[in-house]
Symmetry: C2
Subunit: 312 residues, 2 copies
């Protein structure tokens, strides 16, 4: 049996998985990205994590997804990672492993994963939106990834929206990810706590201690601040997605990543605002779906899909 | 020598040209689209115009560009044309002519034209923006037109911008073409006449009598209302284009159509606002150009290019 290693380098967590050619994540591990302020120490930790999964197995390749990955194996000035400058991620790992190593934007990996194993198997035009620490996107038109002139297409997290009250990590005023991402909804919780006086579980939780699952759980428990935060987030996301449709008219837009794990809580307000904003000649033609990849493994599978796709 | 007929069906004027394979418009004619409220009478006029150019010549095909053209030879609910519903343009013309007939969105034709004859000959990722009665767009990624699920991708005229004070012909509040198009700048002239008390040649010209060339001429004559209108239009266009870059990271954005004929008057404020808004990792990588096609024939050449491209 053949295996690939899929690695998802997120702003908060790095996930590493052992993936079969059929797209099953057989074993996985993870560690907190944020704890490694030094990039070399991060690489050492990554090597350890890979080795913990690969003992006695033949690995055909390593696929990695990371924010701001370029076409030539580097990560450049990532907004949601601790390190700055141009990081030679692929070169550093090549010193440790002999198998082929591939790197792409994390959201591009997610799109390749959905094409190979998920909800985009038969689609030629679709968009994947990853709602993690930031907001990433992978765009496919005519069955191909839109990478742009030098690999920095599909940076929709920085897309400038009408609401201008927040700044992104890159300092973009009104950038979409400042509102719509796992971090964005945490900021919205703070905003709602400032705006309303409703009793809420979040009055007792500090920003840094707040996790996405807490918000879903609170919404399930009818916490008004949580519910209003989902509605606010979905409204902004739906309006932005309707604008994206004017660009590439996808058949489906697939949501994945931490915030998407809240399911109906993000999906319902997003769909409502999307359908309201959609131009007449698009109505009823564009589906909004959740990822078709195994729960919480989609990013690992997407990165591994990069290996199979490049080697096939 | 082989010839194609290129037809540009604009909201205001229909232009018909006899085009060589090398992309020369050898002869042309035109008539006002708006005068034909009845679609059948329009088809009769179109037939006459084509015949006036083709006598004694072998025509290999007819290529047409029109707003809201679908993938199957029809025009559907066009915002900037007098007719409504689904118009069987290609079928109607097939009753009159035996050569192959092709129809695409007018801005897609412009993009194909720039690829074959113009400023996009070596580009795989670019966007063409047509600034006529409305604002159209043709997007090319990986060397291919982005047509979307059923042909209605690249409708950036309806792209919703931050300024929400105007409605488009389709009733979209804050739609880009309400500001940036030949009609948009006429609306801006009215707005500037309402806002400022500067003396201006436009205080003596009614909206319906106002043409794009008048605005350029006035700007050349240092008419403050004209200059402010170009600055206002360019600012909005530049900001929108910067947003589009986050989507497909084109190597160039090419402006064409009536408003683009003003040259530096639209180009300078557009570039200024574009560069200011562009994300750090795009800076210096995206050119804004004027059409590389022969002045005022670009739409005809683009439509004819559709013939050569489809027959090759």
């Amino acid at each position: 049996m053949k295996y690939a290693i899929g690695i998802d380098i997120g702003g908060t967590i790095t996930k590493i998985g052992l993936v079969s050619e059929q797209g099953k994540c057989l074993e996985k591990t993870s560690f907190r990205t944020k704890e490694f302020k030094n990039f070399s120490k991060y690489i050492t930790q990554l090597e350890k994590a890979i080795n913990s999964l690969t003992k006695n197995k033949t690995i055909v390749g390593i696929g990695m997804g990371a924010p701001n990955a370029s076409k030539n194996g580097t990560i450049e000035t990532p907004a949601n990672l601790k390190w700055s400058g141009k990081l030679n991620l692929v070169d550093k790992l090549r010193e440790k492993f002999t198998c082929p190593i591939f790197l792409s934007n994390d959201a591009n990996c997610a799109a390749v994963g959905e094409m190979m194993y998920g909800n985009a198997k038969k689609l030629k035009d679709f968009i994947v939106i990853t709602l993690g620490t930031g907001l990433g996107s992978g765009i496919v038109t005519n069955g191909m990834l839109v990478e742009g002139y030098d690999g920095f297409a599909a940076e929709l997290g920085h897309f400038s929206i009408n609401n201008k009250s927040r700044y992104t990590g890159l300092g973009v005023r009104g950038g979409l990810e400042a509102y719509v991402s796992a971090t964005g909804i945490k900021r919205t919780i703070m905003y709602m706590l400032s705006k309303y006086m409703d009793e809420s579980v979040f009055r007792g939780i500090a920003f840094n201690d707040l996790h996405g699952e807490d918000i879903t759980e609170a919404a399930e428990n009818n916490d008004k601040i949580a519910i209003k935060s989902y509605e606010y987030t979905g409204k902004i996301l739906g309006e932005a997605l309707a604008n994206f449709v004017s660009f590439s008219q996808p058949e489906a837009i697939i949501l994945t990543g931490g915030l998407a794990h809240s399911g109906k809580w993000i999906l319902k307000p997003t769909k409502n605002s999307f359908e309201k904003k959609l131009l007449p000649f698009y109505k009823g033609k564009v589906k909004i779906l959740l990822s078709g990849l195994e729960d919480k493994d989609s990013a690992i599978l997407g990165s591994a899909a990069l290996v199979w796709k490049n080697l096939s």
